[in-house]
């Protein structure tokens, strides 16, 4: 003790220059958390932030192709009105058939996505509840339903997409009816029947169109709801059976139990799933807005405009996510724990 005090008095050591702050064990432990997230931080610092800024930078620049005589390659120049690329991206007509601008296309695509997202969440919740019940062949059904999680994305989707393109271009459609079902689902149900049914019920045509689109896309929707099903199933498993038991004792029907117990208990997972589905479907390459953005660079060489429209779209996705989180936060029920 005396020794250390004497050292401190004598004064001129590194320790005195940088006096060590008194830290609690907890604070020390908290700081070592940085070590665990270090890989991510390093990636962020050395790669990701640079790439992101570069891409944002591209959205404010014009591209000039340097002719091969002068060495080839590209030349960057700051856009003269700074937001020229953005203005271009907003006002340029992208769909020659309907004359829609990118902004319009983005918003129609947006609403289609929202409808599909709601459908995906409802379907996956419904199926998760079914798969959670005891029944014959439950293991087999579970195995089948999670196949799309493993093989549905990526290459298979791409091949299906390619084939659909080829099929639609093929003029021989009348001839080779033998292979209608060789890719994707073909027409599962005759959409005419459905719209007839709904029209006879006296429902508006827009609703009919939405519903029949959803039914036509059922293969796609089922394929995209695998992960959500997994997450919902996990959430359902974690609800304590004693809650259900006491509800049944009190005389609640299954309908009441669903609305009063199941739904609030898994509502945090509905939020998580909503966020995941929004991200998943808005950034999917099969999505029409994304595929348009990606196609810009392929056809013309205006990468500036591509970057600008991509970041506009990114902004829209972030706003959507924020709104979803805000709305859901009001609804979500958190079970308080005693800690």
């Amino acid at each position: 003790m005396d020794n250390t005090k004497a050292k401190e008095k004598s004064g001129f050591s590194l320790k005195n220059l940088f006096p060590k702050k008194a830290t609690s064990l907890n604070a020390k432990k908290a700081r070592s958390g940085w070590l665990f997230v270090l890989p991510f931080v390093l990636g962020l610092v050395f790669l990701y932030v640079g790439v992101i800024f570069e891409s944002i930078g591209y959205s404010f620049t014009f591209y000039h192709k340097i002719p091969a005589v002068r060495g080839g390659g590209y030349e960057l120049e700051l856009a003269s009105p700074l937001f020229a690329n953005y203005e271009d991206a907003i006002s340029a007509i992208v769909d020659t058939k309907t004359g829609a601008t990118f902004l319009e296309k983005m918003f129609t695509g947006f609403f289609n996505q929202i409808v599909e997202i709601i459908a995906i969440i409802m379907l996956s919740l419904f199926i998760a509840i079914l798969l959670n019940q005891k029944m014959v062949g439950r293991a087999a059904f579970r195995a089948i339903f999670f196949i799309p999680v493993v093989v549905g994305a990526g290459i298979i989707a791409k091949i299906d997409y390619d084939n659909a393109l080829l099929e639609s271009m093929s003029s021989l459609e009348g001839l080779d009816t033998g292979a209608v079902a060789s890719s994707g689902m073909g027409n599962l149900v005759d959409l005419m029947d459905i719209s007839m049914l709904f029209e006879n019920l006296g429902i508006g045509s827009e609703l009919i169109e939405t519903v029949s689109n959803l039914i036509g896309n059922i293969y796609d929707i089922v394929n995209r709801s695998g992960v959500q099903m997994l997450i919902f199933l996990a959430a359902l498993q974690s609800i304590s059976p004693s809650i259900y038991e006491s509800c049944q004792m009190e005389g609640a029907t299954s309908w009441e139990i669903f609305w009063k117990i199941t739904l609030p208990m898994i509502s945090p997972m509905i939020l998580a799933n909503a966020v995941y589905t929004v991200i998943d479907s808005f950034t999917a390459e099969s999505n029409e807005v994304m595929s348009y953005i990606l196609s810009i660079a392929d056809t013309t060489n205006v990468s500036g405009r591509q970057a600008a429209s991509a970041w506009l779209y990114f902004l829209l996705v972030i706003i959507t996510l924020g709104l979803v989180a805000l709305v859901m936060r009001k609804v979500v029920f958190y079970q308080r724990r005693n800690d």
């Binding site: 990701y48 570069e54 394929n223 079970q335």
Partner: protein, 358 residues
């Protein structure tokens, strides 16, 4: 009630079983009480409805596979005949044979297996580590950093493709990508014999995985964080008391504990890397590293098949489609085999994840 008056007569008694004689209600009565009531009817009806519904949706999921499999055994003639739907009239295994022999299936399979396996191992470990850091340590900026993790999921990676490729083609150590804070590594790479920088090697893909920035790693980090939040703090505290540091605790206590969850993440990252076309086609473009997802495997029509289809009279579009589908089947076949063995763990892992207690 009657039993109290007359003690039941014991018929047979063994160590842990006892058979007692008593007046049973007749079988008919019992069956009546059990099955002839509205509760039972409703249960049966619901079960049938549920079964049919699940069967229907299973059909939606499985049918494309069935039709792809059946069309993969068809010869061009079958596609022209309108009465052939699922069962080919002129069955042939040519499609499979020539895809495997002429498009270098085995080599591509080996490469894909190597890449997916190593990459999935890296991703599983790194995401577990990062998720643990976010879940258990309340350091400054924890929430902000986690928000960034979520944001990395939203950024459409195809937009960044060209920048990423440049970063790896002309590798440099750059902080925030600022020019004067960077060290050029291109010379080093050339000295090591990589003329294109790190392009056409597995390094970029590994690098993205090592930093938790690869495809859907945000989701894995999120899943692991949720899982570790449910692990009681007392476990680590007792390990600290026993003299383990944070890292040793993580390796020796936390990782073994989270094996079901790790398997889930591993299966997801393995299969998503296996079927990924974006990253592999962005960073790899050489015959040396052909993967199953490379265009040279699934988009190229084997020469012999081309010949067969032209012999059948012009190009039959449906046959081309069938060949592509067969290539797709060949790509996912190993994955499906793996899934059949592992799906039990996938579901178990998610079930025990404590996902509900967010």
């Amino acid at each position: 009630m009657n039993n109290q008056n007359s003690a039941p007569r014991v018929m047979k008694e063994s160590k842990n079983k006892i058979k007692v004689e008593f007046d049973r209600t007749p079988l008919k009565e019992r069956l009546k009480a059990k099955y002839l009531n509205s509760y039972f009817y409703r249960k049966v009806l619901i079960a049938i409805f549920r079964f049919v519904l699940l069967l229907g949706i299973s059909y939606i999921i499985l049918f494309p596979f069935f039709s792809k499999i059946s069309s993969s055994f068809m010869s061009p003639k079958d596609f022209v005949q309108s009465d052939v739907k699922l069962i080919p009239k002129y069955p042939t295994t040519d499609t499979w044979k020539f895809l495997i022999t002429e498009n270098n299936y085995w080599k591509a399979l080996g490469n894909t297996l190597l890449l997916s396996l190593s990459n999935a191992l890296i991703q599983t470990f790194i995401c577990a580590m990062i998720g643990y850091g976010f879940a258990k340590f309340k350091f400054k900026g924890n929430n902000l950093l986690f928000l960034i993790v979520v944001l990395t999921m939203i950024v459409p990676h195809p937009i960044l493709a060209s920048s990423l490729v440049q970063r790896f083609m002309y590798p440099e150590i750059a902080i925030f990508g600022i020019e004067w804070l960077s060290i050029d590594l291109t010379g080093l790479c050339e000295a090591l014999g990589w003329n294109m920088g790190l392009y056409n090697t597995f390094v970029p893909i590994y690098f993205l995985s090592l930093t938790g920035l690869a495809f859907k790693n945000g989701l894995f980090i999120f899943i692991m964080r949720q899982f570790y939040r449910g692990v009681p703090d007392e476990l680590e505290e007792s390990s600290y008391v026993d003299g383990y540091g944070v890292f040793k605790t993580f390796i020796k206590i936390i990782l073994p504990l989270s094996v079901p969850m790790l398997i889930t993440v591993f299966i997801l990252s393995f299969s998503w890397q296996w079927t990924d076309i974006f990253y592999t086609n962005t960073f790899l473009n050489s015959s040396e590293h052909t993967l199953l997802t490379a265009n040279s495997f699934w988009q190229t029509m084997p020469a012999s098949l081309d010949e067969i289809s032209s012999q059948a009279g012009g190009s039959v579009d449906s046959f081309i489609i069938a060949v592509k589908n067969t290539a797709g089947l060949l790509i996912i076949a190993p994955l499906v085999v793996m899934y059949l063995f592992c799906q039990r763990y996938l579901i178990q892992g998610i079930e025990h994840s404590g996902f509900g207690g967010m």
